[in-house]
Symmetry: C2
């Protein structure tokens, strides 16, 4: 047991009567004479030596840490991402730094800039909105970055996006296919990217099916449970036979508000959510929902990032400084409809 102070490579060298170079070599498995190896091993074990990761990082310029920055760890969508990312990075021997930006843009920019402090080898970021400042920070970032979200084409950064336009359309078409005609729409704020995309998908699917766009069937509100419940109040007068909700929270709030006033789900009104979070399964009736692949997006983002980090080492002795970095890749994860009881077909 060390008497209070952490042993270093130097203590071991003294204790074993060899040089620090030999200690380092032995501990990194670079061979050596048999009794040297033996003595060093024993000394290390006796002193309870643990290599100092900070010193090592300083020496070889990598921390074996990755950062994931997202708006809010309370949101189930981000929880699935964290989980997927964590599992990939852990397998690759990287630690994961979690950064909650609280959906504050300056905080996101700060994270981007802080890449320069070499605290982590790379960053996965999930920005709430993309401003010019973001684009600027992304293009000049001091290390590899992967964005989860939609980015203009000319930003030279790897990204993984969901196709929420298609997702919304799938949901709406599913409703028409199961006999619904008056499809209400509980959307989030119209000026956010997710809100805009869902609106686009909703309109496209309606047009596709020859149904009119009816303003009285559409509500814009916040993205939470209470707003979903409140939206029901405003939509009922328009006599919808289905509700398409922009996320599971809204859908849950809406479904329960309907039940509370005696409207049957799905018999009278069908309900669809988005994200396919635990909430969709937890609701009663279980909610049909569109899985936008948050887990899959997390996994892909982590792999893209690891790829960037592997890159410099591979290839037969290329000139590192001069070789242009591989071009950015953009992956789109397709949506997937998960049908549950909340949209059973009407027995018309």
């Amino acid at each position: 047991m060390p008497n209070g102070v952490q042993p270093t490579i130097v203590s071991i060298a003294e204790h074993a009567g060899v040089s620090i170079a030999s200690v380092s070599r032995v501990l990194n498995g670079q061979g050596g004479r048999h009794d040297t190896v033996e003595r060093v091993r024993r000394a290390a074990a006796e002193l309870g030596y643990v290599p100092n990761a900070v010193a090592r990082s300083l020496k070889d310029g990598r921390t074996r840490q990755l950062t994931f920055a997202m708006p809010d760890i309370g949101n189930p969508v981000y929880v699935s991402m964290v989980r997927a990312i964590q599992s990939v990075t852990k397998a690759a021997g990287y630690r994961l730094l979690l950064h909650s930006t609280d959906a504050v843009a300056e905080d996101e920019l700060a994270v981007l800039h802080s890449l320069g402090d070499r605290t982590s080898d790379g960053l996965i970021i999930c920005p709430i909105r993309i401003t010019d400042a973001h684009i600027d920070a992304l293009t000049t970032a001091a290390g590899p970055v992967v964005v989860i979200g939609s980015l203009p084409d000319d930003v030279p950064v790897d990204s993984v996006r969901a196709d929420s336009v298609a997702g919304a359309a799938i949901a709406v078409r599913h409703l028409t296919d199961t006999g619904r005609r008056r499809i209400g729409f509980v959307n989030g704020p119209s000026d956010t990217v997710p809100g805009g995309n869902r609106d686009q998908g909703y309109r496209a699917a309606l047009a596709d099916r020859g149904l009119p766009y009816d303003e009285t069937l559409v509500v814009h509100t916040a993205f939470d449970v209470e707003s979903g419940a409140a939206a029901v109040e405003r939509l009922l007068p328009a006599r919808p036979d289905a509700l398409f909700c922009a996320n599971d929270q809204l859908a849950l709030g809406a479904a329960h508000a309907l039940l509370a006033r005696g409207v049957r789900v799905p018999e009278d009104i069908a309900v669809v959510g988005m994200d396919d979070s635990a909430l969709a399964r937890a609701a009663w009736p279980p909610l049909t929902s569109v899985d936008l692949g948050s887990s899959e997006r997390g996994r892909l983002a982590a792999e893209l990032l690891l790829d960037r980090l592997r890159d410099p080492e591979e290839g037969p002795h290329q000139d590192r400084a001069a070789g242009p970095p591989p071009p950015p890749r953009t992956t789109t994860v397709p949506p997937r409809l998960v049908v549950r009881a909340s949209t059973r077909a009407v027995a018309a």
Copy 2:
């Protein structure tokens, strides 16, 4: 824009025509002649300098990082902890490293030992079970540790615990107080700490109310939704008028299984869960649940840890090596019953 390579304190020194010592001083706000300050500031800005956190950490022996290790980031209980911890540590200027142990004991031990690599300044750990190896690792830990969970009294480590015995008792008493007599119990595995505690509380409350302990009313199973649904099958023959479930997942599964077979909740059978997670609110009917204060426990753990880290600096020049560390503190967070529709009183 730096031409590819990160500027260091040396680049700035050259660029500004001063020594690296001066650069360091200026950048740390230690004054200097006015034009020196000016030149250094300008050079740093021009080169886009960001201090290297690794080098700094090596120098002053702290990383400003904290680690939180828990079994599974998918579990809402741990999500609330992460959230609370994150918010405390962020405010104190620490980054948060997340480590998912996947409920594997060796992984927990590895985390404990890895404290020695100086990757983080302290650790909050939420062990799934406490073995002798854990106790050993805890007492010899290379840095400050806070345990979320129950620990033998003689382990010299700060800890924060929930009182799940009392929590279970509150839940059961609430059921008897609202007119229930045959209280079924869906518990987790009996050989885990949480399982044992809940059992203890259940028995105590029954005794308290003069009700018999009836084996046919008790089921031991896993801690998930499906198990809750399955448990209903086994308990219905015993004709319970209430179900106390060891967590919200079980309660949710049970409630929906009941609904699915036409049993009314709460009219025929009341249901109570534990943890008061988002699931309790999401279920239909909304579930009464016992809040074991996961968020609060996270917050407290983070504060205990920060306290330990602050400690060495304060006090008027005490002999640091000799002074005994402040004694370990143990805090218990009291449970809190949250009543919702799933336990409305019978109109008997």
